[in-house]
Every structure is written in structure tokens, then in C-alpha cells.
């Protein structure tokens, strides 16, 4: 090839390159008018209201309607003709982005049915999580609002905080509770947790489940109790119900104020029978003054009586009034557990003094002689027997104060006899003693060397 041909070829290439450069400039440097974007779903007149909500589902916010509804060509030109199909399986659609709740034992109905839209708006709402309504109003779309009709209501339930206790989706516990009761209740009622954990005497229904006694939503009774006390207590403690209701002598403490809870703790206590105080402290909380009974009797101020008299009857020494009295009521005088006469003078009969023989041996008044049964003996002559087993025999209360006295064995200082209170004049000695009452002349007794009384 000659040099001429070479030059022609080079020139041809240069022309083509120049031409192409020129052409490219002319074509691509042109300002192409950008096409007018068609209005989107949420900017068009049709669905712009979706963007007015306070809380908007993210795909709506991002105009990603197709994410849920799918593509439907022609809808935006002619929505009347090209309508979207209804979503067949809402749950499945939601779970394509959101985690499902299938692993728990208890599912909220709508969650189980995959009806997420029963509670959440798929587009948006004025409530957080695009909920259809606020607080309990949402729940009461399906659930009965009557549960909140009681005069006394549980705080969270009353303020629409259903979710404080219930998980709206699923839970391992029945009724979709967040924890198993009573742990759930202890989340807030921390003092009760401590009380039930640390106390020695626990009310089992309280430890098992608070709703055994309390309605978790509302009730007409204070503390949302399912019944008033004592009816609530009697629903389980049937024997006590009979005892209280059928007793001829009723204890005022059960019919006033907090009834059973005047003496017992509802949840737990460190004291036997779940008493709120040591037994006698409890009794003396009321019997620290004279008390008039329904029958018109005036009961003594026992606290004062015990303070003034240093020798107390055994059960009182043990701070246990219930040794003799039935605090729930009884058919006996002064709610005593067994027979004991209401009048001072009553012929001796073992049945009349059954109460005393609940603890003390009957032999003490049955055996004419003894070296072991009692210290009230002259040699081996049983002076209890002698006092009791005779015509117009004297009874237990003739010589002993029932609660306390300032004399050993709580022996009386005086014995009432009409308008006269005659003194017993009891003196104790190492091996016996003496008395000089109005009943008989002064007499002595001695366990070691029988005293001769003229």
C-alpha cells in the first residue's frame, strides 16, 4: 500500500471520529425535558388521606403500596375497572416482614386467626403502632367493657393499661398474661411478694393466685374482692361460717370493721393462724377498756385487770386467751370453749366446769386423797375434793380468779356474797398455807405435816 492510500485511510478515520464526536455532542447535550411524574397512590387525590395519620405504616410512608397490594397495571388510570383483590391471608402478609408469634402457648384470638388488622390499621392511625383505638377502648371493641363496671377498679385496667398485664399477641400463660400469677401481680405489688416470701404463715390461696380473692379488673367491693369479708372467707372456711353464724354468743370483732381481718392477715403473717398480732395483744387491742355487749353486760377492762394483778392464769401467761375463749363465738357464756357457769354461785358439777377440765385433771376433784395431784392438800387429804364435794360445795371460781389476781394460783382476794365482798385472806407457806374467809374459820394446811384445824 502506498503512502497516499495510507493517508486517505487515516483521514477517513479522523472524519468518522470527528463526526461521531460532533453527533454525540449534538444528541446528548440536548436538554431532555423530564417527564411529568404521575401522582403516586399517597400523593394522588385518591389516597392522600393515608399520609394525614400521626402514625403511618412504613410501606405507606415510603409509597411502597405494591409491597402489600401487589402491582396492578391500569389501577391508577382506571381504579374503577382495575380493582385490587382483597388480601387473602392478612397474617401471612404481615409476617412476610414482621416476626410471627407462633411459638407461645396462648395466642390472642386475632393473632391466632392472622387478623392483625383487627387491632392495627394496615395504613396508619392516630395511635402508636397504628392501633385502631387507644388503650382499653381498643380491647373493648371485642371484649366486654362490663369487666370495668365495678366501683373499685385495678389501676392499670382503669387507666386503659390492659397491656400492663396482658400481652396483646401471645404468651406462655393463660389469658395472655405476661407472667404467671402471682408473679405478675408481684411486678407492682412488691410488698406482697416480700410478705409472702418471708412470712412463716402463708394464706395458701394468696400464694397460689391473687385472683382467688381479688378480681383483677374491677368489682363492687374494696380491693376488688370478689365478696365482702367475711362472706369471702366463709366461701372456703365453711366450718368457721357455721361456728360464727350459729354461735349463741357472738364475738363483736367479727361483725364490726374489717370483720375477720380485724384479727387475721389476709395474705401472710409470722404469727400462728395468720394473726396480725400475738394472740393476747390482739385481744387487748379492744379489751383495753370496758366493753358493753349486745346483751347489755359490761365486760371488764382486761388489760387493766392484768396490769393490776400479777399472778395470771396459765393461758394468759402464754398470751393465749383462746385457751378458754373461742374467738369465733360459742354457745357458752362469754364465748367460752366449754361449760362454765355465768353466775357466781352454781352447785359443783363437772359438766358445769367442763372448761377447767379441758386442761386440768378431773381427778383433782375426784380423788379424796393424793400426794401428787395437787399441792392444795393437808397431808394427803385433797382439799380441792373437800371444797367441791360437799353440800353447797364451792366451785373453781369461788376461790380462783379466772384471769388474774395478786395471790398465788390466782386465788381470789375477795368472794362476792350479796353486798359483801368477804376476804379470802390466803397465805402461802413453803409447805402449805392458810386462809380465813367468810366461809369458815381460819384454817391451815400442810403437805408434810398434816395441820390440825379445830
Amino acid at each position: 500500500m502506498t503512502g497516499k492510500i495510507k493517508n486517505i485511510i487515516i483521514l477517513f478515520i479522523i472524519i468518522i471520529l470527528l463526526q461521531s464526536t460532533f453527533l454525540s455532542k449534538t444528541v446528548y447535550s440536548q436538554e431532555v425535558p423530564s417527564p411529568v411524574e404521575p401522582p403516586s397512590c399517597t400523593t394522588s387525590d385518591c389516597h392522600s388521606d393515608l399520609m394525614q395519620n400521626t402514625f403511618i405504616h412504613d410501606p405507606v410512608k415510603e409509597n411502597e403500596c405494591a409491597l402489600c397490594h401487589g402491582e396492578l397495571a391500569g389501577h391508577n388510570q382506571n381504579p374503577g375497572e382495575f380493582k385490587f383483590k382483597e388480601v387473602d391471608d392478612i397474617g401471612e402478609l404481615c409476617y412476610s416482614c414482621h416476626d410471627s408469634f407462633e411459638n407461645n402457648s396462648f395466642m390472642h384470638g386475632p393473632v391466632e386467626d392472622g387478623e392483625c388488622t383487627a387491632c392495627h390499621s394496615p395504613h396508619g392511625s392516630s395511635n402508636k403502632y397504628q392501633l385502631l383505638d387507644q388503650g382499653s377502648d381498643l380491647c373493648f371493641i371485642c371484649h366486654e367493657p362490663d369487666i370495668m363496671s365495678g366501683k373499685f377498679a385495678h389501676g392499670p385496667a382503669d387507666t386503659g393499661g390492659c397491656l400492663a398485664c396482658h400481652d396483646p399477641h401471645s404468651s406462655d400463660y393463660a389469658k395472655n398474661l405476661r407472667y404467671k400469677p402471682p408473679e405478675l401481680c408481684f411486678m407492682c405489688h412488691t410488698n406482697k411478694k416480700t410478705e409472702l416470701k418471708e412470712a412463716k404463715v402463708i394464706h395458701k390461696p394468696a400464694a397460689d393466685n391473687c385472683v382467688n380473692c381479688h378480681n383483677p379488673h374491677s368489682n363492687k367491693h374494696k380491693y376488688m374482692l370478689s365478696e365482702m369479708v367475711p362472706a369471702l372467707c366463709f366461701s372456703c372456711h365453711k366450718k368457721k361460717k357455721e361456728n360464727v353464724q350459729e354461735a349463741a354468743t357472738k364475738h363483736g370483732a367479727i361483725v364490726v370493721g374489717k370483720s375477720c381481718l380485724n384479727c387475721h392477715e389476709a395474705h401472710a403473717s409470722n404469727i400462728a393462724n395468720r394473726l396480725s398480732k400475738a394472740p393476747m395483744d390482739l385481744c387487748l387491742g379492744c379489751h383495753n377498756k370496758s366493753v358493753r355487749t349486745d346483751a347489755g353486760d359490761v365486760l371488764a377492762n382486761i388489760k387493766e385487770l392484768l396490769a393490776k394483778n400479777r399472778d395470771h392464769h396459765g393461758p394468759i401467761k402464754r398470751k393465749d386467751c383462746s385457751g378458754c375463749h373461742n374467738p369465733h363465738g360459742s354457745d357458752e357464756f362469754r364465748m367460752l370453749k366449754e361449760g362454765y357457769p355465768s353466775t357466781f354461785y352454781m352447785p359443783f358439777n363437772e359438766d358445769n366446769y367442763k372448761l377447767c377440765f379441758k386442761c386440768h385433771l378431773k381427778s383433782i376433784v375426784q380423788d379424796p386423797t393424793t400426794f401428787k395431784l395437787t399441792n392444795f392438800r393437808n397431808g394427803n387429804v385433797n382439799l380441792h375434793y373437800k371444797h367441791v364435794r360437799q353440800h353447797k360445795g364451792r366451785t373453781c371460781r369461788a376461790c380462783h380468779e379466772t384471769h388474774a389476781s395478786n395471790f398465788p394460783k390466782h386465788i381470789r382476794e375477795n368472794v362476792p356474797f350479796g353486798n359483801w365482798e368477804f376476804p379470802v385472806n390466803y397465805i402461802k407457806t413453803e409447805t402449805g398455807g392458810s386462809c380465813a374467809p367468810g366461809c369458815h374459820k381460819a384454817k391451815k394446811y400442810d403437805r408434810e405435816e398434816e395441820a390440825i384445824n379445830k
Partner: protein
């Protein structure tokens, strides 16, 4: 005369008058030899050197049966702790009936028969049942006549006292149990704290803040509520307020991990990256490590432009145990 009688009584009364028995407390318990229900002779001295619990009871007696039931519970608990349990049946007219009772009540401790009222007389027992406690030296320490409401408390108290497990003051508290006094303000503070935590968990942050404030009112010194409040303020983008709460928590407990982590996070919110890194790094030196602290450190290094450190922290965040930090509870999505 009355005064004279009183003086005589006081003088003649033993220093520690026994309850319904004639042997004063502190005196040597009288020895006895009785036959057991198998007919074998048993003496008190056979158990010399042992702590002895002895219940004197009788058949067909409601209080005795109730006390025996409780007593048996203590026998099961204390038999291997150096306590010898003995039962003595009084009023032994029908011995076969006593044997049946022992069988019916499944009594496993030795039961002796006081056929001649030997023990009744020598101890001067006046009430049924009577439970006696004798120490290792053979001294009578206490007696419980009957079956009082506090029977278990008294018996347990004295057993533990004689065993040396409790002192006299503790014994007093044990036999006169009182309702535990609770600090009501602490209870309320704890209750409101838990409620605030719950509100935080379910995303009701403003209510959580309000409730935490109430908790703080009840107990301003409760560190965990201050920390919770701090994290709640972080959630509402109020790092200044958060810092105040964390600082108060830190003042009370200079070692508070939550407070240090919280201050670090608050500083990061405020853009004080270097200080945030310092505090968060300090927090990671505690035994307790949470992924969220490393995550925040990662964020801090990322903001600082140290991508390697940021990556390292993010990796650590994934690795460390996911221990509970309040921040998680109010920001569950961070998990």
C-alpha cells in the same frame, strides 16, 4: 394486810416461776423411771447429756392430740440435731388404747407410761398437755402448758435457744412474734418503679417517666429508679435530664454500672464523643458487660471516624452476654 400478803407472795415466789408445773425453771429436772409401751424400763438419766423435749399428754384429749401432732413435726426436724424427744402418757387406765393412739398418730419417739402419776407428781404437772424442755445439763429450761396458739413458735424458739442457734433476744422475738414492720415509702417506691419499668417496656414512655417520678418522690435515694429515669429520658431525646438522673445515681453509688453506661450514652447524644468513649470504655471494665454498651461505643467510634475500632466494638457487642440493662427494657428493639 393486803400489802403484807403481797410481800409474802413475792418473797415465796421462785425467781422464775414455772408455768403450770411445780419445778422452777433452772432447777434440775427430777429423774424418773417408767415403762415404755413395750414394757421396757426407761429413765430420764438414760438420755444424760442430751437436750430433751418431753410431752406429757393423755388419751382422748383434744389439746393433747393437737400438741402431739405439732410435736411430731419438731421430732422429725430436730431428732438428728441432738434433741431427744420423749412422750409420757398420763392417766394410763386403758394402756391398749394408748398403744392404739401411738399407732394411729404414727408416733415414732419413745412413749412412756406414767402409770403411778410419778412424773405428774414429781414435776407438779397441772395442765394437759405439758411440754417440757431440758438442757444438756439436765436443767429444766421451759414448760409449755396446753396447746396455745403460739405452741410452735414457743417450742421452736426454745429448741433453737437450747441448741445455741439463737440468743436470748432472738428467743424473745421468736416466742412473741410481731408483724414485720415495713417501710411504706420503700414499698410504694418499688411498686411505682416496677410500673414505670412495665410502661417503658410497652412503649408508654411518658407514662413511664411520670411513674418513675412518683417512685423517686417516695424514695429519692433509690438508685435503680434514677437510672431507669435516665434511660427513659434518653428515649425521649432529653440527654440533659438523663444526665441529671444518672449523676444522682452515681453520687449515691460511684460504682453504678448503669449510671456510667447511661452517662456515656447521654454524652453521645450530646455529641461529646470523646467523653462518651471514656465513660463507656470505663463501663466495659466492670464485670457486668452488656452488648448495648459496646454497641454505643461502636457508634461513638464511628462518629469519631475510627472505623476499625467501631467495627471491633460492634463485633464485641454481638459477642458479649446479653445481660439485663435498663436501657434494654425501655428500648427492647435494641436487642
Amino acid at each position: 394486810m393486803r400489802i403484807l400478803l403481797l410481800v409474802i407472795f413475792i418473797v415465796l415466789s421462785p425467781m422464775k416461776h414455772a408455768l403450770s408445773i411445780e419445778v422452777p425453771f433452772g432447777e434440775t429436772a427430777p429423774d424418773f423411771t417408767l415403762k415404755n409401751i413395750k414394757g421396757e424400763e426407761v429413765s430420764l438419766k438414760d438420755f444424760k447429756g442430751k437436750i430433751i423435749a418431753l410431752i406429757y399428754w393423755k388419751n382422748d384429749h383434744d389439746y393433747s392430740y393437737k400438741a402431739l401432732d405439732d410435736y411430731d413435726g419438731f421430732f422429725k426436724m430436730y431428732r438428728r440435731r441432738g434433741v431427744q424427744f420423749i412422750g409420757i402418757a398420763g392417766e394410763t387406765g386403758d394402756q391398749e388404747k394408748i398403744r392404739r393412739t401411738v399407732k394411729d398418730l404414727k408416733i415414732k419417739f419413745p412413749v412412756l407410761l406414767d402409770s403411778n402419776r410419778t412424773v405428774l407428781g414429781s414435776y407438779g404437772i397441772r395442765a394437759y398437755p405439758t411440754t417440757l424442755l431440758i438442757d444438756r445439763k439436765g436443767k429444766l429450761i421451759h414448760a409449755i402448758p396446753g396447746h396455745p396458739v403460739l405452741y410452735n413458735s414457743i417450742l421452736e424458739g426454745y429448741l433453737r435457744f437450747i441448741l445455741g442457734e439463737i440468743n436470748e433476744e432472738e428467743l424473745k422475738a421468736a416466742i412473741s412474734p410481731q408483724k414485720t414492720k415495713v417501710d411504706e415509702s420503700e414499698v410504694m417506691a418499688e411498686r411505682e418503679y416496677n410500673l414505670a419499668l412495665k410502661f417503658g417496656e410497652v412503649g408508654l414512655i411518658n407514662r413511664a417517666i411520670k411513674t418513675a417520678k412518683t417512685s423517686i418522690k417516695y424514695k429519692p435515694d433509690m438508685i435503680k429508679t434514677r437510672n431507669l429515669q435516665g434511660f427513659l429520658y434518653l428515649k425521649t431525646n432529653e440527654p440533659d435530664k438523663a444526665l441529671v438522673e444518672f449523676q444522682k445515681a452515681l453520687d449515691k453509688d460511684p460504682g453504678s454500672y448503669d449510671a456510667k453506661a447511661g452517662i456515656g450514652m447521654a454524652c453521645l447524644y450530646q455529641g461529646e464523643v470523646d467523653y462518651a468513649i471514656k465513660l463507656l470504655t470505663e463501663a466495659t471494665k466492670h464485670n457486668r458487660k452488656t452488648s448495648v454498651v459496646y454497641y454505643e461505643l461502636g457508634k461513638a467510634y464511628e462518629l469519631k471516624g475510627d472505623k476499625d475500632m467501631a467495627l471491633s466494638m460492634y463485633k464485641k457487642s454481638l459477642r458479649v452476654a446479653d445481660e439485663q440493662l435498663f436501657f434494654y427494657q425501655v428500648n427492647p428493639q435494641c436487642r
